[in-house]
């Protein structure tokens, strides 16, 4: 449905997007993760048509929307809508007026839709209030409602939940996801909150320095990161590198690094791969404890313990893996990048 074909975007000699190719199917929900300045917002802006691209093509259902330096379909004619990081409301207009900016109440079912959207984002109570008197979170919800009210074919969300409180966000994200799935609306959510991206997306896009470095399902990318950068971007992890990894696991280990998620390490009494360790610190995180343990080899490991935490700092423990395959071999990023560059050059020559 939406296709990005080698899309590039450069501003002031700085490449914001480098040959990005991706596909978003109808009704698919995508979470885009990446560090600050990696090109996530630029990606949304070129899809929406707010910025021109310097190379490649943006296509939607076979129609080319944008080519190098040209918008073939005007942004307002694409049937997309976008929620910006800043709500950008009419400050002196009411909530209702702001929601109706994109489409008036003329068409059939508009009143019901307005009512539904207000309920979805929880704005019914403040519908007659002037926008600049609302809190930051309420303003952001108005911006969400404004985008949803126009019934877009593709919804682009640029960190829209940043100003929302966590409790509300935790209940709203599943509601929004269900609403979009029910309507078959595709959506791309840009965020730097990994939990939010994992909870929202059917698939995850990882963006680094303007490149789309990985796509895949949330579980796949979380469980099988290819390198340390991906592993750390998606959650807490232990990376055992070089000699330690080789000694701990197996002599035939191909990689120079291994990643283990803290929840995949257990405190045990059996002989284990990870061996003996001393408990350094244990901090309570609500649903679980995060324990820092130092192995006899001097390697510090994070361990997630669910339920009671009977041990104190200084206690001796044994560390084991839940399953041997939970230790994931990581590639060295530099090598992989060299290989990919080599492959690209090869394709170019062909």
């Amino acid at each position: 449905m939406l296709e990005l074909d080698n899309v590039s975007k450069t501003v002031d000699d700085q490449a914001l997007l480098k040959r990005v190719s991706a596909r978003v199917e109808a009704g698919e929900l995508i979470g885009v993760l990446g560090p600050t300045g990696s090109g996530k917002t630029s990606l949304l802006r070129v899809i929406m048509g707010l910025d021109n691209i310097d190379g490649g093509e943006v296509r939607y259902q076979g129609t080319t929307l944008a080519k190098r330096g040209r918008q073939l379909v005007a942004p307002h004619s694409r049937g997309f809508s976008m929620v910006f990081e800043s709500p950008q409301l009419l400050p002196f207009a009411t909530v209702t007026t702001n929601i109706l900016v994109g489409r008036r109440l003329g068409d059939a079912g508009a009143k019901e839709r307005l009512s539904f959207v207000m309920d979805l984002v929880g704005l019914r109570e403040v519908r007659d209030r002037v926008a600049h008197t609302l809190s930051g979170g309420e303003q952001q919800r108005v911006a969400l409602a404004r985008a949803l009210f126009v019934e877009p074919k593709l919804l682009l969300l640029d960190e829209p939940f940043a100003a929302l409180d966590r409790t509300w966000r935790e209940t709203f994200v599943p509601r929004l996801r269900a609403y979009l799935e029910e309507r078959g609306t595709a959506a791309i959510l840009v965020t730097h909150d990994r939990e939010e991206a994992l909870a929202f997306g059917h698939r995850i896009f990882l963006v680094r320095a303007g490149e789309l470095v990985r796509t895949g399902s949330a579980a796949e990318i979380y469980g099988r990161p290819r390198d340390e950068w991906e592993a750390r971007l998606l959650g807490e992890c232990n990376v055992l590198s070089g000699d330690v990894a080789r000694k701990t696991f197996a002599a035939h280990l191909q990689s120079e690094a291994v990643m283990i998620r803290p929840e995949n390490i257990v405190l045990t009494s059996d002989d284990t791969e990870l061996g003996n360790a001393t408990l350094v610190d244990a901090s309570f995180r609500g649903p679980h404890w995060t324990v820092m343990a130092r192995t006899d080899d001097g390697v510090e490991l994070l361990v997630r313990v669910v339920g009671e935490m009977p041990l104190q700092s200084g206690a001796r423990v044994r560390l084991g893996l839940r399953r041997p395959d939970y230790a994931v071999e990581l590639e060295r990023r530099e090598e992989r990048e060299r290989l990919e560059e080599f492959e690209r050059l090869g394709e170019g020559e062909k």
């Binding site: 800043s86 950008q88 009419l90 002196f92 900016v101 994109g102 600049h132 985008a147």
Partner: protein
């Protein structure tokens, strides 16, 4: 600082007390039956000013929109040139265009500058930069964000502009238009050159030509009441519609190129026309006049006028700074009322402030011998400062309101005393507001005419007065040198204001 604040209140109130006293000493209203013409100048002045403000608003907002959000050839250069009409006071433009309209008659072009349309044209061309500067600042901060939001919910560009951009920049356009309205409604020199019977002209005639000061005072009060009636609904509408409630700017301005090359040239034409009318043509005329008369320039007179202008401007600036200091130090102690008083002083025609001050001075100095040149200059400087201090004090009060509590809290959190907090945190934040305000005061003081004519010492002839005197006896080419000197003195402040307001996005 409280004593300074009390003096400030007294200075602001004095002309008004004097005018009210003078207006009520003779309550023979039957005299107005014979002066219905003067009475009729009130609605006429308001209508003329409203038309000029409307035209300036349309012109200023349109060019601000183009230079802020659209790309076209020579955009950056035109953007800077658009403030330059402020170099010439409206009466200079009026004189130049009146002369040009005479010159063009033989080739069949009929331009009657001495008409309502002529007055509106001159005032809007001379003053549209007020609207341009304010609306450009608002557009550069929020215009692009509005357009992107509109596009993102499926609105075409024209609907983005009407439904989103216009409502957001409307307060800025309105403030600019209100400035034009106030300036145009009280304009005396331009109106008298173009033979327009406005209230300012009528007050001047009643007071000085017909020796009817009480009628002049009554007319002044009536006019002020009418202006306040226009201003009050605007003030109510504008309450709370300040920049701080717009939220932070979201994206740096990046003008868009669309519509192709013809559209770009059309935009250039639209933006260059007011530059041509308000700056290029008058500047060319003045330069031509300067070349014609350069051999006959009286350098000592030029130097004396430049010195007089500089002295007046410096004195007015110092008084305004003292007022600002008093306002900042005594913030909250009736400051809002003093500010309102100053706004009233500005909304009244300068001629009204002049006669009010004159009445007050006559009451204080009944013995004419004690009212010497020095006293006269001090009175003039205070009157000019009282009238134009709003340009400094209003931006400062906005600056003080912006995040004041946050700054105070930050000062406490950093362990700073109140004075240290003011000097290290608040003052740097207020500086841009103060610089812009002070430079506007400088520009206004340099081109001020009515107060200097009425209150100034006999031998004290500023560049503006000298220009006015030359133009008054139809010696426009001879006035070129003085106009040029006035423009050169105003150039740096105007360009600095333009630069500061452009960077303030």
């Amino acid at each position: 600082m409280r004593w300074l604040w009390v003096i400030l209140c007294a200075v602001v109130a004095a002309p008004w007390v004097a005018i009210v006293a003078r207006a009520t000493t003779s309550c023979d209203l039957s005299l107005w039956a014979m002066h219905a013409v003067e009475l009729g100048t009130v609605p006429r002045s308001l209508l003329l000013a409203a038309a000029a403000a409307l035209m300036a608003a349309v012109l200023g907002a349109a060019v601000a929109y183009q230079v802020s959000l659209r790309e076209f050839p020579l955009r950056r250069m035109v953007e800077r040139l658009l403030v330059l009409p402020l170099l010439f006071p409206p009466f200079v433009l009026a004189a130049i265009y009146r002369r040009l309209s005479f010159s063009w008659r033989p080739v069949g072009v009929r331009l009657d500058l001495e008409s309502s349309a002529g007055f509106i044209f001159v005032m809007s061309v001379a003053l549209f930069p007020y609207v341009f500067l304010l609306s450009r600042a608002a557009l550069q901060s929020h215009g692009r964000g509005c357009i992107e939001v509109g596009k993102s919910v499926g609105l075409p560009l024209w609907q983005c502009s009407t439904r989103l951009v216009l409502p957001v920049v409307a307060p800025a356009i309105s403030v600019g238009a209100l400035l034009v309205f106030v300036e145009a409604s009280g304009e005396w020199a331009t109106a008298s050159f173009l033979s327009m019977p406005t209230t300012a002209v009528a007050i001047h005639q009643l007071w000085f030509a017909r020796d009817m000061p009480h009628l002049a005072a009554q007319l002044a009060l009536l006019f002020i009441a009418a202006v306040v009636m226009v201003y009050a609904p605007f003030a109510r509408w504008g309450r709370g519609r300040r920049m701080e409630s717009w939220g932070p700017p979201v994206a740096p301005p990046r003008p868009e190129q669309n519509g192709g090359r013809p559209a770009g040239w059309l935009r250039l034409g639209l933006c260059a026309t007011p530059v041509f009318a308000g700056f290029v043509l008058p500047a060319a005329y003045v330069l031509f006049g300067f070349v014609q008369t350069v051999a006959t320039i009286d350098l000592s007179s030029l130097w004396a006028s430049t010195f007089a202008s500089a002295t007046l401007t410096l004195s007015v600036s110092l008084i305004c700074l003292a007022m600002a200091l008093a306002m900042v130090a005594a913030a909250g102690r009736g400051g809002r009322w003093v500010l309102r008083g100053l706004v009233l002083s500005y909304t009244a025609p300068a001629m009204v402030v002049a006669v009010g001050t004159l009445v007050f001075v006559n009451a204080v100095f009944p013995d004419a011998e004690r009212y010497n040149d020095v006293t006269s200059f001090v009175v003039l400087a205070f009157a000019v400062a009282t009238r134009y201090s709003v340009f400094l004090l209003v931006p400062l009060s906005i600056g003080m309101a912006l995040g004041r509590r946050g700054i105070e809290d930050l000062g406490v959190a950093m362990g700073l005393s109140r004075t240290q907090s003011f000097l290290r945190l608040q003052l740097p934040m207020l500086r841009p507001f103060a610089v812009v305000g002070l430079l506007l005061v400088v520009v206004q003081a340099l081109r001020e005419v009515p107060l200097s004519v009425v209150l100034g010492p006999f031998s004290f002839r500023t560049l503006a007065i000298k220009t006015h005197a030359y133009i008054d006896i139809d010696l426009l080419p001879e006035s070129s040198t003085w106009i040029l000197a006035m423009a050169l003195l105003s150039l740096y402040p105007i360009l600095t204001i333009e630069n500061l307001l452009r960077r303030s996005r």
